[in-house]
Amino acid sequence: MAEVTAGTAPEKKKKRGRPSAVRLLMNNTLAAGGLVVLCLVILLALAAPLLPLPNPDVTAPANRLQPLFAEGHLLGTDALGRDILSRLIWGTRVSLAVGISATLIAAFFGSLIGLVAGYAGGRVDNLMMRGIDMIMAFPYILLALAIVAALGPGLLNALYAIAVVNIPFFARNIRGITVGLSRREFVDAARLSGKSNAQILFMEILPNVLPVIIITMSTTIGWMILETAGLSFLGLGAQPPQADLGSMLGDGRKILFTAPHVSIVPGLMIFVLVMSINLLGDGVRDVLDPRLKSGALSRPVARTAVTRTNVPDVRPKTGTTLDMQGLKTEFHVGGDIYKAVGGVDLKLKQGECLGLVGESGSGKSVTAMSIMGLVPTPPGRIVDGVALLEGDDLFSMTDEQVRQLRGSVVSHVFQDPLSTLHPLFTVGDQLVEAIQAHQPLSSADAQKKAADLLAMVRIPNPAERLKAYPHELSGGMRQRVCIAMALANDARMIIADEPTTALDVTVQAQVLSLLATLRKEHNVAILFITHDFGVVSAICDRVAVMYAGKIVETGTTDEILSAPAHPYTSRLIACVPVLGEPGRRLDAIEGRPPVVNNLPEGCAFAARCPKAQPDCRSGEIPLAEMSEGRAVRCLYPETKEPIDA
């Protein structure tokens, strides 16, 4: 046991690839600016009792309506001779206090309602949310007015009114998130760990909802201050002589034309306050929101950036559909460089099917996506290599040339047909669009061609099926539609990225045999990405095995399956159970693949390889040719005799 435990001992904790939340917030200039302004305003408001300000409520009729920068009154005085600067600072204090407390109250009750309703579901949910709907059915200012009218005017009552009016906003937001979370597996797991409903709700779900509550608070607090000001402006909030930004604005309204500064100063303060809070709130949301975290804010360009320092001179060969040499694709994230693909050569002859096999993170998908420039930039970029498509280098073409080739000469079939097809258009519309993007056909002709394509992928009753939406078809049917789309413009090469992984076995068998037939009929080359050697056997002529961004072995399917030469290939085959051989011992590969931003010197598999020698850990291990079309990147390859699997 001891040595196994040692084998899986934790690696050193590395610095995080992603900068901390605070640093991200500071990188956002607008949000940082908002934070600075807000901090200044809050400091000023907090310091009000300490500052040498005149009493904001003492009237001095003799001094009324002094202009800006008057002697002793920096911002002048109002209609009763009160110092505006003093009232402004004290008023900001009141407005901030009311806004923040109203937000806290609304957030507390709203979130509680949302959490309980979302978690309980059923009748409780219905009852609570219909109550919330009833509150929302009133125009909010009317509701606030009604509450204040019932309770009587006053700052505290205005605060209650604003809090109540904003409860539905929180309740709805939080309920939506909670509904999603309470169907998650970790909630079931907590239940099976013996936790009660209350424990699950407040100890499992609440921590996950908290960021959303904070985001909602940060975006509503500005509104709350505005609403407080609104009620005070109408005379329902702060009562004279107490100053608050809204009531100051209300006071100044009557003399707007004779003394505009009396209303403009509090107006500007409201603007500055709300603006800074909203900018900060948006920044906080961008940092905390997991959907935006994934990089949705950095919009990738239409094609992967190519930053090759030197262009290798490769002469095109005839009969080769794709000739790729030395492809290197990297991702630059923060200060780290992830070498996802570190020099890959691939050759694909006309009508040939090449299987690209590897585990997740081996770089097989990035290799395939690099061909047509589909790796998102930023952060991805192609830094070396050439890819000749029937003799022309894809990496030196213009964007327009590549766009013309995408979906016509080279097309893709992806893993999940449901997310590849647009849910709001019929299958027919999408096929017609794919056809018309590359062929000048009339609608009627395109329709006819679309029906022919569906018939070609063996979809019964094709003319009717054109009118179906993707969700009306089964998974196998959807993948057939994707294959039809890939063949819509006489593709020379199909890049199929795990096209059958999401399908059931019986459906997978059919889709595979359909692909095999179509390949022969149309003489189209297929680059088939998979992790399953069984699938490889069924469809591929040749196989390339990838590990840590490099091809470690390539050869014909039969050769590789019967006599794998690279220790990784043989272990990968050995660790998978095979149907019909239940007694087979499964030898797991200990350890984990290396991370591609910190690749070891020498062979990337050395750390997990039982045969590794000292010289495996230094220098570049070449992909050595063993025989025609067969190569292995290993200094000590397995024997060439067939191994008993």
Partner: protein, 326 residues
Amino acid sequence: MPEALLEITDAERRFGGGRTLFGKSLPAVHAVQGVALDVKKGETMGVVGESGCGKSTLARLIVGLDKPTGGTIRFDGTDLVAEAKADPRKLARKVQYVFQDPVASLNPRKTIRTILEAPLIHLRGFDGQKREERLRELMEAVNLAPEFLDRYPHEFSGGQAQRIGIARALAADPDMIVLDEPVSALDVSVQAQVLNILDRLKDEFGLTYIFISHDLSVVESVSDRVAVMYFGRIVEIGPAKEVFARPRHPYTHLLLNSAPVPGRKSLIPEDTNTELPDPYNPPPGCSFFARCPRGTDVCKTAFPPLDQTDGNENHRAACYHPHGDD
């Protein structure tokens, strides 16, 4: 012959149904129906089937996360359904569950220690000292270093996370663990690690497994007995070796012929029907009839009972025309 630990009789789970406010009946789907299953102490019962066949619903019924709408489930002689309602903690001490998606089954905001402590506190009532000891044992049992305890789930790979999921199930010291596609989300090299650990733990802790998967080769390699499910029913059940070597039901046949096997080139013809029947409007007789090459008129009358044998009482198929009879 060891006694049956789990006895499921005629279990049914219907979703939907009922009536609207105006008395119109609503459509219902039978996710599981007429399922009868005995699992003996110490064996591994494999359940295979394709998506939508009801295998996960069955799993949730067994651990009490869902209630059957009909039939009985007895565990070690007591009514499991009643117990799940009356005292879910008591049931959780006997039957545990391992989830398909290892990362989704761990709360992203809790450390591994908090996650593993929950069953020790709530189910076993261990105090500080004993808990700490047990945590170490659990981590050792799944080959993870104890330093991992203070980390968060996102810091783990899929295989490690699944081992934590297994450790959590073990923490309750259960008699039976329901494994719902425990290795489907894992990379192949990691899959073997997890399967080997499961195998060792079974002997070490005297566990009984229900192993649910769509991957035939995985089920074959771990199971003593296998039940094949199709459209909410068990269509074939028997010793794993028998079922895989001599499948009786045409559906099992189809499954075995469709599975990709390294070195196998032949595939089934691409234009046969693979559609499942409409669950809202199931066919009257055998649900596999529309896809079955052996169907006759009798198949359309009623669902065949799970009693066709070829001499071996343990290997039964729900088919009027099973393979091996001709």
